[in-house]
């Protein structure tokens, strides 16, 4: 993976050309090249990279001249904050709406919810973001249009969810990012509810005389929650990746924006560091989702104990 990107970024152009001003003479270029280690053959560069990477040093950014890992970790909390809030919004709004649409599929409101969800995942995120900025910030002047709010440092990590100003800046980007996943959650919940209602245990519970709210709130919900949880977990990685778009539109100082800038400036160490960290995060998330799934779904546990 790292080898692919290493070779790839090198192939698209020598970073020297981008970093050194065109007026610099040959000696200056040589000096910069030697400092950054770019004069060595490609294999030597990769070898040195691997040796350093194992020790936790992913090289310094060509542009900012600080360790690449430091850059990424500095911006990571912003992105994670945006992603978590967006995911939370999607789940908190999506499950009730989807449940409603699943329970009363023929009603007008359900059809409206379903049509809305199709529009929700069809609209390109960046366009919705721009429209929101136009409406909420420019026309009505309700909320700020870009940047992150004031932060409060908790255990060394600056979080803006803990300040009111932080929330004012967070609301539109998170909503924008959440829209796609919200539609997904609504559709999932609805499909799950429709299938679950046809099952025998629901009829049995109703025949037993349980209150409808208990039947739905406890029994149906618990059973359809399992696929929702797994999908939410897997989609979280996608939310982090898609934050790139939202961060560009709203100038949110996260790793997505850093990545785009680095790609355009051919800042190879940062691109590689981003990829490695993001890939590790995905693997960890997928592993976690697998574990949670095996804990939640008793069928998995029972089949294992039966063998």
């Amino acid at each position: 993976m790292s080898l692919l990107v290493f070779v790839g970024v090198f192939a698209i152009g020598s970073p020297i050309d981008v970093l050194v001003s065109p007026e610099a003479d040959e000696a200056e270029r040589e000096r910069v090249s030697r400092t950054l280690g770019l004069d060595q053959p490609l294999w030597t560069q990769y070898g040195r990279f691997v040796v350093h990477a194992v020790q936790g040093d992913l090289g310094s950014s060509f542009v900012h001249n600080v360790p690449a890992i430091g850059l990424i970790f500095e911006r990571l909390p912003a992105t994670l904050e945006l992603a978590c809030v967006a995911m939370a919004m999607a789940v908190v709004l999506g499950i009730p709406l989807g449940l409603w649409a699943g329970l009363y599929p023929k009603s007008r409101s359900s059809k409206a919810i379903m049509a809305g969800s199709i529009v929700g995942f069809s609209l390109p995120t960046f366009w919705v973001g721009m429209m929101m900025i136009m409406l909420l910030s420019v026309q009505w002047g309700l909320l700020p249009s870009n940047g992150r709010g004031e932060t409060v440092t908790v255990a060394g990590v600056p979080l803006s969810v803990l300040t009111v100003d932080g929330w004012r800046h967070l609301l539109i980007p998170a909503l924008n990012l959440a829209l796609f996943k919200l539609s997904l959650v609504i559709r999932l919940t609805r499909a799950g509810a429709r299938e679950a209602l046809l099952q025998d245990y629901v009829k049995f519970a109703r025949a037993k005389g349980l209150r409808p709210s208990r039947v739905i709130g406890v029994h149906v919900l618990k059973n359809i929650l399992i696929p929702i949880v797994t999908v939410v977990g897997m989609e979280f990685g996608s939310v982090v990746a898609f934050a790139v778009v939202t961060e560009s539109v709203f100038s949110w100082p996260g790793i997505g924006k850093l990545l785009i800038e680095s790609i355009n400036l051919l800042d190879r160490p940062v691109v590689i560091a981003y990829l490695l960290i993001v890939v590790t995060m995905f693997v960890a998330i997928n592993l976690l989702v697998d574990l949670v799934y095996s804990v939640l779904d008793p069928r998995v546990r029972l089949s294992e104990s039966a063998t």
């Binding site: 970024v9 698209i12 529009v119 069809s122 960046f126 420019v138 778009v245 990545l259």
Partner: protein, 294 residues
């Protein structure tokens, strides 16, 4: 598929008014895109035909050259007529969306059919590859591929194919696994037909319905992904603007009130994607086996 089945499908499709609206909108955009060279008042790629004096005009302004025409939707910062640019942009978006979906369909279906039919090690290898591709978000893979390979229509199509093929492979493999157990396959094998013939002539036609749904959804998602990538500056070059690039260029003018440079391409893009998704959604509902049983 027999004509009776087609008629049944068409009738159940027509039951949803939304889907019919979607199909109508989509046909209209398809028509506009295909006939763009004939319908567009101006060729937006012809740099010599652009007039910089006409840049950033609001909708309804007059053309400063000969013959007298009006810019129905205004112009962008380079003097391009927005209506023509949108038409050509739709053309490119549809071209990229359809071709990447078709190629991914071809590659993915072949791999999926082979995996489902052959089973064993071949199946495992192909499915592992598909799993690896599916566990990463599409936008990430596409971004990296485009960052390495640069801009251009062909490269975008390759990137989109790389992102999509696994969906087709998975679907076809599932369908192939189910169909493989049925009697007609055994009968064909007893008849001494070669594996290739069995797969192509017998398995494939029965695996088509789920494929249609996936294909429809993937075209919409390919168009959206291409627009997003163009917006980020990684997609198509400036000389052949897609809708995403038009929106990106118009973004900086939005706050100064010149909304038309971004809003109209955005609406066109939205109509395209929403209409495809409406059609795909209804297709999925009518072809869903679990709901069909009740």
């Amino acid at each position: 598929m027999s004509s009776l089945r087609l008629r049944q499908l068409w009738r159940s499709f027509g039951r949803s008014h939304l889907a019919l609206v979607g199909a109508a909108i989509f046909s209209a955009t398809l028509f506009v895109a295909v006939c763009a060279p004939l319908l567009a008042p101006q060729m937006p790629y012809d740099l010599a035909g652009l007039n910089l004096l006409d840049a950033r005009l609001p909708p309804g302004s007059d053309w400063s050259g000969e013959p007298a025409r009006t810019y129905l939707l205004g112009t962008d910062e380079q003097g391009r007529d927005m209506l023509s640019a949108i038409m050509y942009g739709l053309r490119i978006s549809l071209l990229v969306g359809f071709s990447s979906a078709l190629i991914a369909l071809a590659i993915g279906s072949v791999l999926g059919l082979v995996a489902g039919y052959a089973g064993g090690r071949v199946d495992t290898v192909i499915m592992r590859l598909a799993d690896i591709q599916l566990s990463f978000p599409a936008i990430l893979i596409a971004m990296i591929l485009l960052a390495i390979s640069g801009q251009g229509v062909g490269k975008i199509i390759i990137a989109l194919v790389a992102v999509q093929w696994a969906y087709y492979a998975r679907t076809m493999r599932g369908a192939a696994l189910v169909e493989r157990k049925k009697e007609y396959v055994e009968a064909a094998r007893l008849q001494g037909l070669s594996h290739g013939r069995i797969v192509l002539r017998h398995l494939l036609p029965n695996c088509i319905p789920p494929l249609l749904v996936v294909a429809a959804l993937q075209v919409a998602s390919a168009v959206a992904l291409e627009a997003t990538l163009s917006f980020l500056g990684l997609g198509l070059p400036i000389t052949e603007p897609s809708l995403g690039l038009l929106i990106a260029n118009g973004y900086q003018h939005m706050l100064s009130g010149r909304y038309w440079i971004s809003v109209f391409p955005g609406m066109a893009l939205m109509l395209l994607i929403v209409s495809i998704n409406l059609v795909a959604d209804q297709l999925r509902d009518i072809l869903n086996p679990r709901l069909l049983e009740h």
